[in-house]
């Protein structure tokens, strides 16, 4: 099994008059087809760890390899390129661009990558949205959609460039239970049907109980890293 993410003694200290340690000496590896939940009490550094793994933040010390490549020597532009191609993000809030239609929002990462033609991008974005049950909403603006629908658009956008890893930060945190379930199903399908690796930060214990692997943090340090059920084949 190929290792997608290899974290070695990652520490992130927020420089301040009294420095705050967000992530403390975390070492872990993530392979393909994994569905991982990062859990822990508020302020335990779950999101901070996710941002480190997602290259949005740089560790104060320790090394991080993405697909075997050491990221500490890369400059910001190279990290941005890696994010564009390897990683997809879903946040608690959808973070869609309000002035653009649903379809345009999903096309955005593809246009940035610039590999597909305009019609190919349109086709891919449309099919992604249809698979997520948004067939009739392509030309709507984000504010015309419900919270759950928006979050599904965000998932579609995260998948736009066919990344290996989808990172989700409290993806269901602002949704009602029905929408939460839908989004959870979608994330699960990403792992089972599309072979993605999904890492989700959550404090929803219902979700945390249904993933393949659960990493529990307290005060920025990993206290447990356990496989919950049989890994998805």
């Amino acid at each position: 099994m190929n290792l997608l993410i290899e974290a070695d003694h990652l520490t992130r200290i927020l420089p301040a008059t009294v420095p705050i340690t967000l992530v403390r000496d975390v070492s872990l590896t993530v392979g393909e087809h994994e569905f991982i939940a990062i859990t822990g009490p508020s302020g335990s550094g779950k999101s901070s760890l996710l941002y480190l793994l997602g290259l949005l933040d740089r560790p104060t010390s320790g090394t991080l390899r993405i697909a075997g490549q050491d990221t500490s020597s890369l400059n910001d532009d190279a990290l941005a390129r890696l994010r564009l191609e390897m990683l997809g993000f879903v946040f608690q809030f959808h973070f869609l661009l309000p002035e653009f239609t649903v379809l345009e929002n999903v096309k955005l990462p593809m246009r940035k990558a610039g590999r597909l033609s305009s019609t190919e991008m349109r086709g891919r974005a449309a099919s992604l949205l249809e698979e997520l049950g948004l067939a009739g909403h392509l030309d709507k603006r984000p504010d015309q959609l419900s919270g759950g629908q928006r979050q599904r658009v965000a998932v579609a956008r995260a998948l736009a460039n066919d990344p290996s890893v989808v990172l989700a930060d409290e993806p269901t945190g602002s949704l009602d239970s029905k929408s939460s379930e839908q989004v959870f199903q979608i994330l699960q399908d990403l792992v089972k049907k599309r072979g993605k690796t999904v890492i989700a930060v959550t404090h929803d214990m219902d979700i945390a109980g249904r993933v393949d692997r659960r990493i529990h943090l307290v005060d920025g340090a990993v206290v447990s890293d356990e496989r919950v059920t049989q890994p998805v084949a």
Partner: protein, 415 residues
């Protein structure tokens, strides 16, 4: 790149009223700059045109730039002489006929020769010091602007027998004389002669209207006891700009001081330069203020769009992309402002050119009724260039700030 442009335009379009204000700020700056530049340069051109019109383009007088070498210096080159008293030169341009003929062969334009001397006009117990200028009416009329300023009579009237004189209307008024009056003219030589006034002119220039009198060249020569002498050759060129070149050549050829109008009016022309500096400073200030407007709106957009910046960065947009995004927004506002500004500038010029007013332009010798405006594409280009630079800077500063934003900080702040 198209993507960035599209994002930029969407941001701007999303802020209708503020965008309009920012664009108007730039547009007014550009528009007023254009109108002001047109007015400034128009008045300058007008001023110079009148200057050129009323003066000889090149004036050759019987003076020299440096004192002549004395015969003793030429004879004894090894010795040094001090305190030599210059030999008395016969005043006037030597061999005027030959000088005049040689100039005529190459000078592109018309010329006139005259003898200029001082005198006192005496009439009814009043004495007024004047310049007595001996002229040839035919050639003078083609060179001097006075020819067009006659209230009564003309230069040709001088020819009508006897001792005739033409004076300015102010002088005539001052001594209480009018056409037909005979006045006494006393020369520095002591010669005194009666002249009958046959013409009055009004140039608008008080110094000339009160202080210049014209007689026939012959009469002036007799009055000053200098037969066949002239001391002044004036050239009116086809192209006034050629004056310095012609003056240099004439001076080299004749050895006499030849002054182009640019040199004669150096201080005035320098004042115009100062005026231009003042104008560009003011214009620059206007556009700088417009730049602040742009800075303001771009900063506001970057603050409001912090989430967009975060999300775009998390999607894989680089810092450079973000910088470009907001820089383009600034430039787009500057560009839109420039275009609207061109229209405003054009309309302002049009409106100004319609203004009718009366100013007695005594100092420049003519009366203005319309504002002189000068149209040049350069005014438009310079104003836009200024606007674009200031909007570029105004966009770049917040853009740099925005690009540096750490997406994590914003995402954290939102959750």
């Amino acid at each position: 790149m198209r993507l960035i442009l599209e994002l930029a335009l969407t941001h701007i379009a999303g802020r209708g009223r503020q965008t309009v204000v920012a664009i108007l700020g730039v547009a007014l700056g550009v528009g007023f700059s254009i109108a002001m530049a047109a007015l400034m340069q128009g008045t300058e051109k007008d001023f110079i045109a009148q200057l050129v019109d009323t003066m000889p383009h090149v004036q050759i007088t019987d003076e020299r730039r440096t004192a002549r070498r004395q015969p003793a210096e030429d004879l004894f080159s090894a010795a040094q002489f001090e305190g030599l008293r210059p030999k008395e030169d016969r005043r006037g341009i030597l061999n005027p006929a030959a000088a005049f003929a040689s100039l005529r062969s190459w000078v592109p334009g018309r010329m006139a020769q005259s003898l200029r001397t001082q005198g006192v006009v005496r009439y009814a117990g009043r004495d007024v010091g004047v310049a007595v200028i001996g002229i040839e009416p035919e050639t003078e009329a083609r060179v001097s602007s006075v020819a067009g300023d006659f209230v009564e009579g003309s230069f040709d009237s001088l020819r009508a027998g006897g001792n005739n004189i033409v004076v300015g209307d102010s002088l005539a008024r001052r001594i209480g004389a009018s056409t037909g009056t005979t006045i006494q003219v006393v020369a520095p030589t002591g010669q005194s002669r009666g002249f009958r006034i046959v013409g009055l002119f009004h140039t608008g220039n008080n110094a000339r209207d009160e202080g210049e009198t014209y007689v026939l060249l012959k009469s002036a020569q007799i009055l000053s006891e200098r037969p066949n002498a002239i001391n002044d050759i004036r050239l009116r060129l086809d192209d006034p700009e050629a004056a310095p070149r012609v003056a240099r050549q004439a001076e080299a050829e004749l050895g006499y001081k030849a002054v182009p109008w640019q040199e004669a009016n150096e201080s005035l022309l320098e004042a115009l330069v100062v005026r231009n500096v003042v104008m560009y400073t003011v214009v620059g200030a206007i556009l700088l203020v417009a730049g602040f407007g742009i800075f303001n709106i771009i900063s506001t957009i970057t603050h409001e769009k912090a989430r967009d910046i975060a999300i775009l960065k998390s999607l894989g947009f680089t810092q450079g992309n973000m910088r470009r995004l907001f820089l383009i927004e600034g430039l787009a506002l500057g560009m839109a402002g420039s275009l609207v500004g061109w229209l405003i500038g054009f309309l302002l010029c049009l409106a100004l050119s319609q203004v009718d007013f009366k100013v007695s332009g005594a100092a420049i010798g003519r009366e203005m009724t319309r504002l002189p405006l000068f149209w040049s594409p350069w005014h438009y280009a310079i104003a836009s260039a200024f606007a674009l630079i200031s909007s570029g800077v105004a966009g770049y500063l917040p853009a740099r700030q925005a690009a540096r934003l750490n997406p994590v900080d914003i995402i954290r702040g939102a959750t």
